[in-house]
């Protein structure tokens, strides 16, 4: 356990009716950190969150809060709060009473309740909404009430389960920035679950990429994007060209029918590897000047760039470029050594 660790998961295993959902999760969450659990649906990210919240008990392994083991502690005794996926507001109470719910249970004096609820309404930009019924609010407003209802209790840790999943794109972008602002201004720890990689990269200090109940990689958004640990992470975080390759020796890799210089070393001689190349790292040059040559199959305008599919060496390459090419034409492709990412093959495929 690290120095300023607020939550620690040690060898957590969870199974539902014999089906393993989490398989040996180890995770340290530091104080005042914005941690995102990222992965496709069914990867176990929500279950991990529910373990911390106390709604799921692990089959084996330990949960620590501030260094104290809290496996058996029921949710209502844990010093943390949750923002649920579908908000889960109390429909029979108005906005004020929803937010005041936790304070009422703690028997906070009425005057302080009014003051703290007002503070929260201000924080989430819902001033003057206190007497509204929660069913009269829009999705975005309900979301803010759910956040206020959790934060009013001054938890040290806030768990958020895909809180922006039901909102439209524009609202989601706005709320992302707002959530980050709230987290920084209150100086508390957020654990955030999402399947949206862009959301994860935008808001987090640390991203935890998960798949099939395993953690694939833990790192800063930059690490995860630039140095993906395996082909799954590379593919999940942004688009990638993933090719089979062979590592001839340090700094030399063969793929797509030829040898390339690269910056990776420490692989076994002739080891089969995954080669990952980002679509924006492939430079389009005249056909004779390229390391590889291919035929343009299709071109789609994406706003900032053109997305092209190019057939070369039996592989469909995705290339992002600001310059369009004629479909059917032949082009050359160049790749710089530091843009070639080499990864061990994933375990289950070995």
């Amino acid at each position: 356990m690290g120095e300023n660790c607020i939550v620690s998961l040690k060898d957590i295993v969870v199974d539902f009716d014999g089906e393993v959902v989490l398989d040996g999760i180890n995770l340290d969450i530091h104080d005042k950190e914005f941690v995102t659990l990222l992965g496709p649906s069914g990867c176990g990210k929500t279950t991990t969150l529910r373990i911390i919240g106390g709604f799921v008990e692990p089959a084996s392994g330990d949960v620590f809060f501030d260094g104290k083991r809290i496996n058996e502690m029921p949710p209502y005794k844990r010093p943390l709060n949750t923002v649920f996926q579908r908000y889960a507001l109390f429909p029979h109470l108005n906005v004020f009473e929803n937010i005041a719910f936790g304070l009422r249970l703690q028997k906070v004096p009425e005057k302080e309740v009014a003051q703290r609820v007002a503070e929260m309404l201000e924080l989430v930009n819902l001033k003057g909404f206190d007497k509204r019924g929660v069913n009269q609010l829009s999705g975005g407003q309900q979301q803010r009430v759910a956040i206020a209802r959790a934060l009013v209790n001054h938890p040290r840790l806030l768990l958020l389960d895909e809180p922006l999943g039901a909102l439209d794109l524009k609202l989601r972008k706005g709320m992302q920035i707002e959530l980050k602002r709230i987290q920084q201004s209150l100086d508390i720890t957020f654990v955030y679950v999402t399947h949206d990689q862009e959301e994860a990269l935008t808001m987090s200090d640390t991203v935890v990429v998960m798949k099939d109940g395993h953690i694939q990689q833990i790192g800063t958004p930059q690490d995860i994007y630039n140095e993906p640990k395996n082909a799954f992470v590379a593919d999940f975080i942004g688009e990638s060209n993933i090719l089979d390759g062979v590592m001839h020796k340090d700094f030399v890799v063969e793929f797509a029918g030829r040898k390339f210089d690269c910056v990776d070393k420490g692989f076994e001689k002739m080891e089969n590897v995954d080669v990952v190349i980002r679509p924006e790292d492939i430079k389009v040059v005249p056909a004779i000047a390229g390391q590889l040559s291919g035929r343009v199959e299709s071109v789609i305008f994406k706003g900032v760039h053109y997305e092209m599919v190019v057939e070369s060496a039996g592989f469909s390459w995705i290339i992002h470029s600001t310059q369009s090419q004629e479909p059917g034409s032949s082009i050359g492709m160049n790749i710089d050594p530091f843009d070639i990412h080499i990864m061990h093959k994933m375990e289950e495929e070995r």
């Binding site: 209502y76 709060n81 649920f84 996926q85 579908r86 109390f90 719910f101 209790n153």
Partner: protein
């Protein structure tokens, strides 16, 4: 077009006449001076006066009300708890429990009545209030369960977890969050249990004792001799009470709807 409208109005009129004429006749004869059921000889309130001095009828009315109140309250408590339990069961157990719940409703009343009687004989229970109340709780339980369950199913299950998360113990979470949500179902379940208890004749007939006759049983035993116009008067009163209750409930619903509409417009 006009002709069509005339036709449909007549049709509706006939149906309502078919439904309500018998009750109209009953009400009319409750004011008949003569004991005869054939001729109307003059208007009188005598039968109503006599009714309120008939100790047997008044006592069985009191019995009926006591049994209805007690059995519907107990059935509501047990039924609501059962619904919560059934709702959190797994699929297989749930469908098994639901079939068990439906069984008493589908089962002919006479079978339920006779089997109850046999059970009480076997247990050597004294026939009277206790046996009646037990029987009434038993047959009204399914109605409570069937009214509460849909409300529980409609509810966002994370609302309960949210309450726990904010510091409620499970029991407190039920009281503060789940109960207000399912209250409409609980109330309609209780009302149904209450009405079925008031109404029941067959099962009561087999489980009643000499001192605890309910109104339907009393009326039945009175009609075996000769239908006294007192019974017309009693039936009229019951009909008026039911009608008034129905009107009040509907009127309240209407006002609530208007209120909701107004607040929606206000947004």
């Amino acid at each position: 077009m006009k002709k069509r409208k005339w036709l449909s109005n007549t049709y509706i009129g006939l149906i309502f006449a078919f439904l309500y004429l018998p009750i109209g006749v009953l009400i009319a004869y409750s004011f008949n001076e003569s004991k005869s059921r054939a001729v109307f000889t003059g208007f009188t309130f005598d039968w109503y006066a006599k009714l309120f001095h008939n100790d047997v009828i008044i006592q069985s009315l009191i019995n009926t009300l006591i049994i209805a109140v007690v059995s519907s309250i107990v059935a509501t408590i047990i039924g609501t708890a059962a619904a919560v339990g059934i709702n959190s069961m797994n699929k297989w157990m749930k469908s098994a429990m639901m079939n068990l719940t439906y069984l008493p409703i589908i089962n002919p009343e006479i079978v339920t009545g006779v089997s109850m009687m046999l059970l009480f004989v076997f247990l050597k229970l004294q026939f009277g209030f206790t046996t009646l109340i037990i029987a009434h709780i038993t047959f009204s339980l399914p109605y409570v369960i069937l009214n509460v369950l849909p409300k529980l199913r409609q509810m966002d299950k994370f609302v309960y977890e949210a309450a726990l998360d904010l510091g409620c113990t499970p029991l407190l979470a039920f009281r503060k969050v789940i109960f207000p949500e399912i209250l409409p179902g609980v109330i309609s379940g209780m009302l149904m249990a209450f009405t079925f208890s008031l109404d029941d004749f067959v099962i009561s007939y087999f489980t009643t004792g000499p001192t605890s006759q309910t109104l339907p049983v009393t009326i039945f035993s009175m009609t075996r001799r000769k239908v006294s116009p007192e019974i017309n008067a009693l039936s009229t009163i019951i009909f008026i009470v039911v009608l008034a209750t129905l009107l009040i409930v509907n009127f309240k619903d209407l006002r609530k709807q208007k209120k909701v509409q107004r607040s929606e417009v206000g947004v």
